[in-house]
Symmetry: C2
Subunit: 455 residues, 2 copies
């Protein structure tokens, strides 16, 4: 079969060890597994050919974008063919008047935003990494802007996907809303390549705000910082980004980026709007922060100054990892109802301290979503054990509060064992029924998202 595909694709099919290795893992800590071949299609039609060839022989198919996932989402657990979509990098349409665009799955968000900037537009979903938009749709990504702009679920208007039988579906319309049938767009968003290979996405765009205001504020306690967040959200102060770094993370950022922030919990906040509205919202936020022990409020609408204030956040993940060079990191991803956020973060910080782990906290707290970057030495069994049991405790804590094991990273195979703690058996059976209906032979990204039922 590989020979057949090579005839068709030429050097856009590779079985070179380096290429296979590169497509065997993502940026997470989960063990790798290599595909038997990697193909680099140029078009939806070529993806159809690859999927049909694989389907005819029951060979697994794994879609691959920038490889920046964190839960082994792209790891080909059962080998087969990895479809690398990065050659499908064309921006097909930008409709300024409709504030939407259509792009091939391999376009990255930074590439798109550079093109959009010329039109005064931007695509707000920002998971940190320069992920592909197809990959972001597949994992239902979100990130720092989600508190205002939502997640990929809210911003993918439609998509083109190749199903397991090689048929091509086009979901959604160009209208802003529709009640015409099942919401296949949102069924595919977050399905991580297990229901179809996404080859094009239509996205909602936004005008670049007239004014962007950025601010930072330190807090005497973690609880005070989180209570500020909760109150701002509950009062409806329209923040665009709202990020928390705990004291461990702030210290890591000071070292990594040469900053001199007070080593204390830090909130970073951003407002989008007109000069009048941004100033109005910032003043409201400042008042709430002051009531909860906030100090050192700094605020600007100047772009360079805002970059300076926000520098700590931009490098947070790498700064955290640099606390222990050579260590692996479990980037946890729980999300809880905002009413439980203070309790969840404070308990989690205490849990970290008891466990002796090095684990800074950084979070998109406006959504109730926060990451603990749990650093561990993979060669030290006791550390591995401590990191894993901490992760399991954190997830159980969040789920007990009505939250989720993953706010934005997806299930991949790393979170598979936690699905049963979140969804009851009938709900998991419903997911499995949908999977079976659309991929009866289980060739699409096998071993991901939906746990095997009945053992």
């Amino acid at each position: 079969m590989i020979d057949d595909l090579r005839v068709r694709l030429g050097d856009r099919l590779s079985t070179a060890a380096a290429v296979l290795d590169e497509h065997g893992r993502d940026e997470g800590w989960h063990p790798a597994a290599t595909p038997d071949a990697v193909v680099f299609p140029d078009s939806t039609a070529e993806v159809v050919e690859v999927v049909r060839a694989c389907a005819a022989r029951g060979v697994p198919v794994v879609p691959f974008g920038a490889g920046t996932s964190l839960e082994g989402n792209v790891t080909p657990l059962r080998g087969g063919v990895t479809i690398d979509l990065t050659r499908m990098g064309r921006i097909l349409e930008v409709n300024v008047d409709d504030l939407d665009c259509r792009v091939e799955a391999g376009v990255t968000r930074n590439t798109l935003n550079r093109a959009l900037a010329r039109e005064g537009l931007f695509f707000p979903i920002d998971p940190g990494a320069d992920a592909t938009l197809g990959g972001m749709a597949a994992t239902r990504a979100s990130g720092t802007n989600a508190v205002r702009y939502g997640t990929m679920k809210d911003n993918v208007l439609g998509l083109t996907a190749v199903l397991a039988d090689g048929s091509v579906v086009h979901t959604g319309t160009r209208a802003r809303k529709s009640s015409a049938g099942y919401d296949l767009t949102r069924l595919l968003v977050g399905s991580e390549g297990t229901l179809g290979v996404i080859t094009e996405v239509s996205l909602r765009l936004y005008g670049i705000p007239e004014v962007i205001g950025g601010a930072v504020c330190s807090f005497a306690s973690l609880a005070g910082a989180v209570r500020t967040v909760i109150e701002a959200i509950q009062l409806g102060v329209p923040v665009a980004r709202l990020e928390l770094l705990d004291d461990v993370q702030v210290e890591a950022c000071n070292r990594f980026s040469g900053l001199s922030l007070p080593v204390a919990p830090l909130l970073l906040v951003e407002f989008h709007g007109s000069a009048i509205t941004v100033a109005d919202h910032a003043a409201a936020f400042e008042g709430i922060a002051a009531a909860h022990g906030g100090s050192g409020w700094e605020w600007t609408t100047d772009a360079a100054e805002r970059e300076r204030l926000w520098a700590a956040r931009h490098q947070a993940y790498y700064a955290g990892k640099a606390l222990r060079p050579g260590a692996l990191a479990i980037p946890t991803d729980v999300c809880v109802p905002i009413s439980r956020l203070a309790e969840c973060i404070v308990e989690t910080r205490a849990d970290i301290d008891r466990s002796g782990l090095v684990a800074p906290i950084v979070g998109h707290v406006g959504d109730g979503n926060f990451h603990v970057v749990v650093l561990f030495d993979p060669a030290a069994p006791s550390e591995v054990e401590a990191a894993h049991t901490f992760n399991a405790r954190l997830i159980a804590r969040a789920q007990a509060m009505g939250g989720t094991c993953t706010g934005e990273h997806g299930v991949g195979y790393g979170k598979l064992e936690f699905m049963a703690g979140e969804h009851d058996p009938a709900t998991l059976r419903m997911m499995a029924a949908v999977k079976r209906a659309l991929d009866p032979d289980g060739i699409l990204n096998p071993g991901k998202v939906v746990p095997a039922l009945d053992g």
Copy 2:
């Protein structure tokens, strides 16, 4: 079977002719069909019993809320058991701190909003009728507030549903976002009872705005009014509602509600926010309107005065119908990309005028969604023919512009014939595959949403 259920449900099962008739049709113009029995369960457990009894014998099951749908969505085309959910009217939880709530499917939006007002909260989705929240979820309803708050797809956080096999699923979590598996919530939202019977919904809530500003403005031309809408949306002026009445509709409102508005296209707009931001946004809108021939701008933040300005809109549907007492009405529901809205509305108005139909236009134009209320005498074959061919032309026009045959009313059986003009065969096959997987015997609201394939 009916006798068995009667033993269980007592007088909460009815086969009285009046009750069957009442559950045989909705508020639309499509022919009725009566169920064999209507049941009024009190709980999800009772819905399970009814569905299991029906499943065992292959008897159709049709969920029914307030009966305010418009496309025959609740009409039991093949008889069977209608499940009237209005006794499931409990508000189960209101979580002020999380801005969410959980209600039984039979709670209506007005009932919910009365309860929420005490907490300073509201649920914004407003389809006009006092529909049940289960029904609104099932049809993916939206309405006047959607331009700011989205549709039911954006505001249902999770739900409880009884599937065709009697199993009970709970979708979503209480966290604001999650990437933990397939988005079953949004698969069920808009499925119109064909995939499961929704028995509970969790909803996103909002703080009642500090200030609500309302304004009206008349226009010399329909095109000027629509261009004002387009520019306001494109510039990101954050309107909460943005409604258009054409001159025919304005005249109908003048007669019906004793108003004295200039007989000309009218825009009604509403802004939600603080006093400062509302005034800022209203001024921006006024400037855009003036540039497109707007006149008679009136604006207020006083509640009673706002009611007066908006009176025309609130009674628009009944005012339109009163233009021809005794006539039936086809309430069309196309939605197009905003860039095509002026063209679509102007062509449609010309089409109406050529056809000799009486058909006012009223629309949620901020979304690109508008309704033509096509009045026809069901006893006059030529009028019936003219109304139907106009409706088909309008839908074809919208679909050719990348739009949809239904922005918010759903498919029911009235829009079934238009699905193939909107979705390609592979996409319809994907919908059918999902339907078959979850309801293999086709007992759930048969004959709706998904057209029969291959003839």
